[in-house]
Symmetry: C2
Subunit: 359 residues, 2 copies
């Protein structure tokens, strides 16, 4: 065989390799970093970010590796939005209402006072246009959001003093984010926003008189039961709190289609798992509060008069907040319309379940 012939034949072989190139290119590996707003003590929330990285790794056969950082390890709790916007990291895990200062509309994507429960929130995201509006809101920041999981209906929070009437809310210093915080502010409360990991020292030292966080499991992880005695329910301010996995648009768009799909569907898996985990762990924590902390902690419903007044205040506050930006107006209208529509059905099914089947 002439050398020239050999080379020609080998070129044919090379052409075979070229044909296989798309497959080889699809095998390109990506390394991402994910920062959360959670202190590592919050095992369910931080664990959900770790779960996300794990299932993306599994489904992508290691082609997309995501390194997960807790609040403060790389970025402060409330610095993650800007870090991902600027491209320092490829994604974050937090709650949209932390970014109310950037765009008031973000608040509805996490929770609305007297709004939808977890089941209703997910119906709104996927069937009521909620996720499309969230994407539209974040497009201005070159970010792409995905619902990351719900905590379930939250607890109303911890108060150092017993709550008897609306007068007790005046002058109170209470830690609470989002639209619920604006309702308390309207009631005369001084509202502060503190990352989860910093609530206990603030509450213990009396910098604040109370705080909401999530529910029995998380709240005990933060030690709140050792800093306040009165634990109120229900979480009227956050009936269906949902977190976010949010991607830097450029990083997301660089991925091949299969990895984009894997990110999207992994978020759904995490949503499903997070609520199940909260259900199971909150049961245990509630039981501990009722037994081991009996006498130290009192678990109470909000007084009916307080709930009624807060509901009235909420209507005005929400209308006012909705007027703070064209996007907030659009999101508020979508949310409230969807809630009004599904309400009769929710009452006939899950409402009837709680009233009649389990009773």
């Amino acid at each position: 065989m002439q050398r020239r012939t050999l080379i020609r034949n080998l070129s044919l072989g090379a052409a075979g390799v070229v044909l296989a190139a798309p497959a080889v290119q699809a095998q390109k590996k990506y390394r991402w970093r994910l920062a959360t707003s959670w202190t590592p003590a919050l095992d369910v929330l931080q664990g959900n970010a770790v779960r996300f990285a794990k299932v993306v790794d599994e489904m992508s056969e290691g082609r997309l590796k995501i390194q997960v950082y807790a609040a403060g390890e790389l970025i402060p709790a409330f610095g993650v939005f800007d870090a991902v916007l600027q491209g320092t990291l490829q994604m974050f895990n937090a709650a949209a209402y932390y970014w109310a200062g950037k765009e008031p509309a973000t608040q509805w994507f996490t929770a609305m006072p007297f709004g939808l429960n977890p089941r209703g929130m997910y119906a709104w995201y996927y069937q009521g246009g909620g996720l499309k509006l969230w994407e539209e809101t974040y497009a201005a920041f070159d970010l792409i959001p995905r619902p990351a999981g719900t905590t379930g209906n939250q607890m109303g929070g911890w108060f150092k003093n017993k709550l008897e009437s609306m007068a007790d809310l005046q002058g109170l210093k209470f830690r609470i984010p989002g639209l619920g915080g604006k309702v308390y502010a309207e009631a005369g409360t001084t509202v502060v926003l503190t990352p989860g990991g910093e609530i206990f020292p603030a509450l213990e030292r009396g910098v604040i008189d109370g705080s909401e966080w999530v529910g029995p499991h998380d709240d005990m992880k933060l030690g709140l039961h050792n800093a306040a005695s009165y634990y109120y329910y229900p979480g009227w301010h956050e009936p269906g709190t949902t977190g976010e996995f949010t991607f830097n648009r450029k990083a997301y768009e660089e991925l091949p289609a299969d990895l984009k799909a894997i990110l999207d569907y992994a978020a759904s898996y995490c949503s499903e798992q997070m609520l199940a985990e909260y259900e199971a762990k909150n049961v245990v924590a509630l039981n501990t509060l009722r037994t081991r902390y009996q006498g130290q902690v009192e678990i109470l419903p909000f007084p009916a008069e307080v709930m009624g007044n807060l509901r009235t205040l909420a209507r005005d506050v929400l209308a006012e907040e909705a007027n703070r930006s064209p996007m907030a107006k659009k999101v508020h209208e979508s949310f409230t319309k969807f809630q009004a529509q599904i309400s009769p059905w929710a009452e006939m099914t899950d409402g009837a379940y709680h009233r009649l089947v389990r009773g």
Copy 2:
């Protein structure tokens, strides 16, 4: 360059290709067939199977293609379990309580009368050992189950005649599967099991006096509102009905790890989407029943006396069914223990939401 040297260099190139061989092997393509128990008119249920195939295709970059067949297209509605067990197909989509004749334990994996709602069911599967027990039950048939999505809390069903008391259940011919059917049987009802697609003709011709199926949207798709006038709620017999994606073990185990993961997590995505879709579509259907069919259709709660009596009967029936096999006993114990544990928490959160926040 000597020819020998050239060849050696080219061998190095070839070695590079050999190194890439595992990646090439991972690109092996699989073609599966999925048969459902649903008539194509059931757009949400059949659509969920189609959605499953679509997202597996997306995430696997076409390496796992699943062809979806409705009931009767390839296999009759209730023949899918055996077809997949025998390896005729790789997977099916149905409801586990259809297989009560093979193993009584299967019934709990779909729904338990006066049992858990959708949120509770998923907590049980993933945090209460429910899915592990389901896998154990199906291992005897070389099948691997995954929760495929919930219909939400169901409606009680359609009755040709108004239900006033327990006496009206005696001698009634009613279509209902699972444990709920056994409770009706105990009340003197003649219970039949008919695939969804065959209910309307049976009801219209008077072969049966009533039937439950799912909820307003599905029931209207089947035309049940044109064959009976009284529509009862709540679905005490199925408070959290969940379907199944079930795989032939050999077919599943032949897949590489990433495709197995993709199947598992795709099922979670479908679960999330199916409930959201049912919520949105049931709202519309309920509204149609209340407006366009006003006068023709009456939507009523079960009489309190009937609900109370059925609850009492259910206790005995469930205990009896649990004694029909060692696996049923194990599953019933796990289910009822988990329900008792989460009950106080469910009441304080989602129960309080329905009572107080939305009220």
